[in-house]
Subunit: 349 residues, 2 copies
């Protein structure tokens, strides 16, 4: 049984909110009886939905919040004018100690900007990064950054590597996860200056990160390393390309099984095995991207998610809290920035 | 029947060369009886292989070349010291008019650097780009750049858009292909300055390109646009991630059909339909990346390709020559760089 704590929930974020939020939380009620939920959103819309989930009701407290950040709103504007939005108030609840973490399926940019403003970054972290798990041939890997930082310095990349390594160690329960820097193949063209410099730093890091070196796009699906580190631009493109390709393949597969009576029959016979395969790559299973490097647990669920995906995002937050991921990052950054004499000064990267 | 011309072939490029090269050319003998092949490579290794393909022999001329550029060689070094390599001499054959185009499955970076040095770029093209076709939900699209240029200015991106549009028009036989700039999703973070500027230029381009705007990684598999324009870094990562994901999915599928006797039987019944699907996404079908913007046709085949892939790369080159792709690019660049009065001066981009 998990230790009891409270999670704050942006009940209005996501295309199918607040309905999928409530249904998603209900999925977790039995598995996490000690976790309480602080819901921020329109009580008038949330209350009627709870009628179906009487037992969930006792784990929930609603904070009536009328304002909602739209998916098309500019993050900078959300920060300026969204102080009373469900998203902002859900984040505030972490900052003021009411909740151990926050989950939202709303506007990613707004969540990022507001969470950074309210929660601040952990000591030593210049920029937070968005991280998630992805399915690979050999299991799962961590990939970051997925879009929080368009341009990244070598220091940013090194910090992402440190944070991603802690994430993999804690969440994937790996003793010594391997870390790779996403790059392109051609030797002479091999990457941007920032990536080459980051590689040099990681190679002789005092943190003893198991640095594998450069990896390429095709290594992601292979699971060549446990942690894929990229700038937010190429990381975002890699993740979305992988998701799109998986969907395309599923589409072609469905089409193939419709081509003839024989194929239909074949599909029926193999239905169970195919379902197991689909489950393995189901994006809902990997819902829950962590805003890593913030002074508080903040998890983003897919905007288009359903109750299954949202419940997994909440599960991700519960895992991050129970596994003390932020404490791990804090410790590793103290090591990274302390010089050899351990006097706590920031060492030159 | 195609008009007769000669192609120069780097017979030593690629992991399985020269064997797969010869077998690949043999696949094209009947379809293109008027195309002749000028082979650069080790005659001692090539001659014995031709024994099996007597009829191909008459379409081939071998230029004995001992030196070979290795897949790990630095492009800059290849350029300095590889004047007598099979790759370099195959490129030279295009420059001196002996051949209408060159195909190599060797070191991409070396091919790029040597081809640019020998063939030069087309008027108005600052930097060549690597382009290829990829399978999508609705057919095929063009994607470029795939790694020739790690960092790209907005001018580079605009030029890639122009070249990619011509490529799609000619090779995919589209009257008015749509063009998109690969970017990431979040509004406020929306992309790098260079991409935003390129979008602004393409929006009011005098070329009347059908500019769709920004696209994301998942749009590639969807085929949202006919031409995906990216800097070489993210384009390379997108293509390799897509290829890796497709391979992973195939692997999971094979695994699924091995899970039980029922699944095995299902797989057998659906075998024909599944094969058709596999063929549709078979990377060998899309072998042949064009080095676009050079003053000569230069096609790169996958380093790890087999005879089927290599024959498709040669087929790509034949298509590019027959479809006058370079003449199209030349014309469009004259339009792009001529000012309103048509006096041929380069207009400010």
């Amino acid at each position: 049984m998990s230790t009891g704590f409270t999670l704050s929930i942006d009940a209005m974020g996501g295309d199918a909110a607040p309905k999928m939020v409530i249904a998603g939380l209900n999925r977790l009620r039995d598995a996490f009886p000690n976790v309480r939920f602080l819901l921020f959103g329109r009580a008038k819309e949330i209350e009627p939905l709870l009628g179906r989930y009487q037992r969930l009701r006792s784990s929930i407290e609603i904070r009536d919040t009328w304002e909602v950040i739209g998916s098309g709103d500019k993050p900078s504007q959300a920060l300026r004018t969204g102080q009373n939005s469900s998203m902002r108030r859900a984040i505030d609840a972490v900052a003021n100690g009411e909740a151990a973490g926050v989950i939202s399926a709303g506007n990613t940019g707004a969540l990022m900007v507001m969470a950074k403003f309210v929660l601040k970054t952990l000591p030593g972290v210049d920029r937070p990064a968005i991280a998630t798990l992805i399915p690979t041939r050999v299991g799962q890997s961590v990939i970051l950054d997925l879009g929080a930082n368009v341009e990244c310095s070598c220091d940013n990349l090194v910090q992402f590597a440190v944070m991603g390594e802690v994430f993999a160690r804690k969440v994937l329960r790996l003793e010594k996860p391997s870390v790779g820097l996403l790059n392109i193949g051609e030797e002479d063209l091999k990457g941007k200056e920032s990536i080459k410099k980051a590689a040099a730093i990681l190679q002789d890091s005092k943190l003893a990160i198991r640095f594998h070196g450069f990896v390429e796009g095709n290594d992601i699906a292979e699971g060549t390393v446990d942690v894929f580190v990229a700038d937010g631009f190429s990381g975002n493109i890699a993740l979305k390309t992988a998701e799109g390709t998986a969907r395309l393949y599923s589409h072609f597969l469905r089409e193939a099984f419709r081509q003839s009576i024989m194929a239909r029959l074949g599909g029926l016979l193999a239905a169970r095995a195919l379902k197991r395969m689909r489950d393995k790559v189901d994006p809902r299973r990997y819902d829950g991207a962590m805003l890593l490097g913030l002074n508080g647990i903040c998890v983003k669920s897919h905007g288009g998610t359903d109750s299954i995906g949202f419940s997994n995002a909440v599960r991700t937050a519960i895992g991050l809290i129970s596994d003390h991921v932020n404490e791990g990052i804090r410790n590793d950054f103290i090591c990274l920035y302390a010089d050899k004499n351990g006097n706590g000064k920031r060492a030159a990267l």
